[in-house]
């Protein structure tokens, strides 16, 4: 055996907090899965729209544009927190990670409160008609995703704050930001579909 040539990799870094990390790739694929799910719901929205003459059904008040549009501000701003956290993770700055994660969490909480207020102001349910079904499905699934990521971010914050900030946690912070960008990014078309589409292609056909 001693005759074999060798490729010595001991000089390579023992971890890498970047888009070369397997966890980053895993996270991107998870986003692809969630993205194809939500794209399918967008297709469903327009399929159902084409099947009826009046959209939404008579008696349904369209959700107000103001609330969800205002809620975009904290949502988009929260990406700054994610960005700061992931940059801090790359530079191994614990303070920076805490700041970024905290900023992200705070703004995300404001967004969730605004969404909860809007949620309670709707005058139709998922059982009202097909419009209600698809509207609530999109709203519920996205809220669920956001809530799940907010909880995970909170857990990460606790982990980092309690002194665990080795490479594995720092990669976690980095990919958590990737997921958050995705959840914010995918909301823009979803927001367009459920709030603007019924105004543009709604009413009677």
């Amino acid at each position: 055996m001693t005759g074999r040539r060798t490729l010595d990799v001991s000089g390579l870094p023992p971890y890498d907090i970047s888009n070369q990390s397997p966890l980053f790739w895993g996270q991107v694929l998870m986003c692809l899965i969630e993205g194809s799910l939500l794209c399918m719901l967008i297709a469903t929205y327009f399929y159902l729209r084409l099947g009826v003459d009046v959209w939404p059904a008579p008696g349904v008040h369209l959700p107000s544009l103001t609330g969800p549009t205002v809620a975009l501000i904290p949502l988009l701003a929260s990406c700054v927190g994610s960005y700061l956290a992931s940059e801090a993770a790359k530079k191994d700055s614990r303070g920076g990670m805490l700041l970024g994660l905290g900023l992200n969490l705070g703004l995300a909480m404001i967004f969730l409160v605004l969404r909860a207020i809007e949620w309670n102001s709707l005058n139709f349910t998922w059982a009202s008609d097909a419009h209600g079904s698809i509207f609530w499905t999109i709203l519920f699934l996205h809220s669920y995703d956001i809530l799940a990521d907010v909880l995970m971010t909170a857990v990460l914050l606790v982990i980092v704050a309690s002194g665990h900030c080795g490479p594995r946690q720092r990669i976690g912070v980095h990919v958590d930001s990737v997921l958050w960008y995705f959840l914010v990014g995918i909301w823009i078309p979803l927001y367009g579909v459920i709030y603007w589409a019924p105004r543009l292609i709604g009413g009677s056909r």
Binding site: M1, T2, G3, R4, R5, T6, L7, D8, V9, S10, G11, L12, P13, P14, Y15, D16, Q20, S21, P22, W25, G26, L29, M30, L32, I33, E34, S36, L37, M40, L41, T44, Y47, L48, G51, V52, A57, W126, A127, S128, D129, A130, H131, G132, S133, I134, W136, T137, Y144, A148, L151, M152, V155, I159, G163, H164, G166, P167, R168, Q169, G172
Partner: protein
């Protein structure tokens, strides 16, 4: 990085490696298992148990149809049995068994120590197992689905399918799809980021290519079925949404569109790994590089794309606009091009190679014969006028059994014979293997060939009986006899596996003189797969003289360190440490399972699933000691 001349002391310390990569002992260790070979074996074994269950259901159906006006099964029971048969074979056998082969073989073939996300891998298996136990467990409480394996509304809707059977079916889909998605993610990352140095994409084994394409198909197809089964069907049934209720603006056809947007790629999700298996067997057993490697790989990728443009050919009888249907006819026929390219590549390989006719090769020949026949009826069915005549008849049943059994089961059995020495360390008996092949081959054609004719003369599928005097008696009896011939072939296979596993001759690391990396390590492979990770200089590394092949040194052995390489050229990029075994993936799967199972009764169980799942995930991700991964 370029390999350099060696120093003797760099070889791995096998004792340390074994200690680092071994699983924990005892029951707790068994539940915490995260080694890809153990999880792969569990997938394969569990799937074969479901194959037996699905097979028993098939035999019950054939017994009922053996003679006209038979009273062996009542109509309602027959509906339940064909639903369970289809559901079991598609969701609990065919996809998981291919995933199991991929999980076991891909890390060995690309030359690494484990899959990219070992804990996710374990979680996926437990979800799959829970889904299978859920649907069969509910059967004991009379909650048996009976609306067919694709559960079309309005038949499957709240009005015509009261009871919980269809709900169980719909939620079982979620379990198996979550499992398939987990496997897809980890296989893609394993293939793209963990290949041995030097294994650029154009040196990757065809089986890995087929698993890569299949995994991407899972990622784009599986979300659709979760929408169809859970969002549309289950929510309409339990929450009162109106997705498929035309009275409130919904549309039952929407369900069909979304279901088949998944359902057609699903066939290729099952079939693509089989193509990879066939290429692997042929390359080894003709002792030449597979003919037309670039064409084969491009055809696999092409199959993956075209498969998403075919779904409406399942819906030709629904009255969709004909101009749209014509597009799907053309697309359906196009798949014959990519499939044909592969068939011709294999024929050329056979023609120019020196063939060794082992049992595995027998199964490959069976595959080519049966699959080409199924492919030809497929081209026929792509034509709308013919499809309208034979829609929902036994002609379709014959077609998809030729494609699925011929296209997936025969290659799988061939692959099982081929890799059996690697799995177990022992050779499988060739004579019994060939015997089981011939019995299965004859039995298969005896069962399903008459169904072509039955369908053409008008026997519809899913009927529990028929009246005498239609001339269907002989063909049906023949099919029933054939089903029992298949059973005896299966029994020979099982006997062969059990016997060879116990007392077959020792195989050694490479009994076939094969070309790919899984044959470099011992059989069965040690927990760490390779003492030193290999460096790959050619597409057939084991046929390259070992003096020209280098090995990787410098990976730490006292922790689970792996090598991450670049996507296209597999240049070493960094080292990475994998997590240790953990019970949390199993507990997380248990938490989700309890909640999902409850959700068919009340919505709040989704919250239970979320809370338990969240607790599980926190345990899973909580940092291990030692706190820091030091360089």
């Amino acid at each position: 990085m370029t390999p350099v001349a060696s120093q003797p002391h760099v070889y791995a310390d096998l004792d340390v490696l074994r200690r680092t990569w071994s699983s924990r002992p005892g029951l707790l260790g068994w539940l915490s298992e995260i080694n890809h070979k153990a999880i792969g074996r569990r997938y394969i074994l569990t799937a074969f148990i479901f194959l037996l269950l699905g097979g028993i259901e098939a035999l019950l159906m054939r017994l009922q149809l053996a003679k006209p006006e038979n009273t062996f099964l009542a109509a309602a029971r027959y509906n339940q049995i064909f639903t369970l048969h289809g559901t079991t074979m598609m969701f609990l056998f065919a996809v998981p068994v291919m995933e199991g082969m991929g999980i076991y073989l891909v890390p060995l073939m690309v030359g690494t120590r484990n899959v990219a996300f070992p804990r996710l891998n374990a979680f996926g298996y437990w979800m799959y197992l829970a889904g299978g136990l859920f649907i069969y467990g509910c059967a004991f409480f009379g909650m048996i689905p009976d609306a067919g394996w694709f559960a079309y509304p309005p038949l499957s809707g709240p009005q015509f399918s009261p009871g919980k059977g269809v709900d169980v079916w719909a939620q079982m889909i979620t379990f198996t799809e979550v499992s398939a998605l987990c496997v897809a993610v980890e296989l893609i990352v394993t293939i793209l980021k963990m290949r041995a140095p030097g294994m650029s994409l154009n040196r990757m084994p065809t089986f890995c290519w087929s698993m890569l394409v299949q995994s991407f198909m899972i990622i784009f197809a599986m979300p659709a079925v979760m929408i169809a089964s859970t969002v549309f069907l289950l929510n309409d049934r339990t929450l009162g949404t109106h997705f498929v209720n035309p009275a409130e603006g919904g549309d039952p056809l929407l369900y069909q569109h979304v279901f088949w947007f998944f359902g057609h790629p699903e066939v290729y999700i099952i079939f693509l790994p089989a193509l990879g298996i066939v290429s692997s067997i042929l390359e080894t057993h003709t002792r030449r590089q597979i003919f037309g490697y670039p064409a084969l790989v491009l055809s696999l990728v092409g199959n993956g794309f075209i498969a998403f443009g075919l779904w409406v050919h399942h819906m030709f009888a629904t009255g969709l606009p004909q101009i749209g249907e014509a597009y799907f006819t053309a697309a359906s026929m196009m798949i014959a091009i990519t499939s044909g390219v592969q068939i011709f590549c294999w024929l050329a390989t056979l023609w120019t190679g020196r063939l060794r006719p082992t049992a595995a090769v027998h199964f490959v020949f069976g595959f080519i014969f049966i699959f080409v026949m199924g492919g030809m009826t497929g081209v026929m069915l792509a034509s709308i006028p013919l499809d309208l005549q034979t829609h929902d008849t036994f002609f379709v049943v014959a077609h998809f059994h030729y494609v699925l059994i011929g296209g997936a089961l025969f290659p799988l059995f061939g692959g099982f014979h081929y890799w059996f020495p690697k799995f177990t360390g022992r050779l499988i008996d060739e004579t019994l293997g060939k015997l089981s092949f011939w019995i299965l081959f004859v039995g298969f054609n005896l069962t399903f060939f008459p169904m072509h004719w039955l369908g053409i003369v008008g026997m519809t599928r899913r009927v529990y009986t028929y009246v005498p005097g239609l001339g269907w008696e002989h063909a049906n009896l023949l099919a029933t006899i054939g089903a029992f011939v298949i059973l005896s072939g299966g029994l020979v296979f099982i006997v062969n596996v059990l016997r060879s596993r116990r007392s077959g001759p020792r195989a050694g690391s490479d009994p076939w003189d094969a070309s790919t990396l899984e044959w470099e390590t011992t059989s069965p492979p040690p927990p760490y797969n390779f003492p030193n990770l290999p460096v790959v200089p050619t597409r057939t590394p084991l046929w390259t003289p070992s003096a020209e092949r280098a090995i990787v040194t410098g990976l730490r052995e006292d922790r689970r360190e792996i090598l991450i390489t670049s996507v296209l050229d597999a240049q070493p990029h960094h080292r990475s440490v994998q997590p240790r075994p953990s019970i949390w993936p199993m507990l997380t799967a248990l938490g989700f399972s309890v909640g999902l199972a409850g959700s068919i009764f009340a919505f709040y169980w989704y919250y239970v699933a979320s809370v338990l799942g969240m607790v599980g995930l926190i345990g899973w991700f909580w940092p291990e000691r030692p706190l820091e991964v030091k360089p």
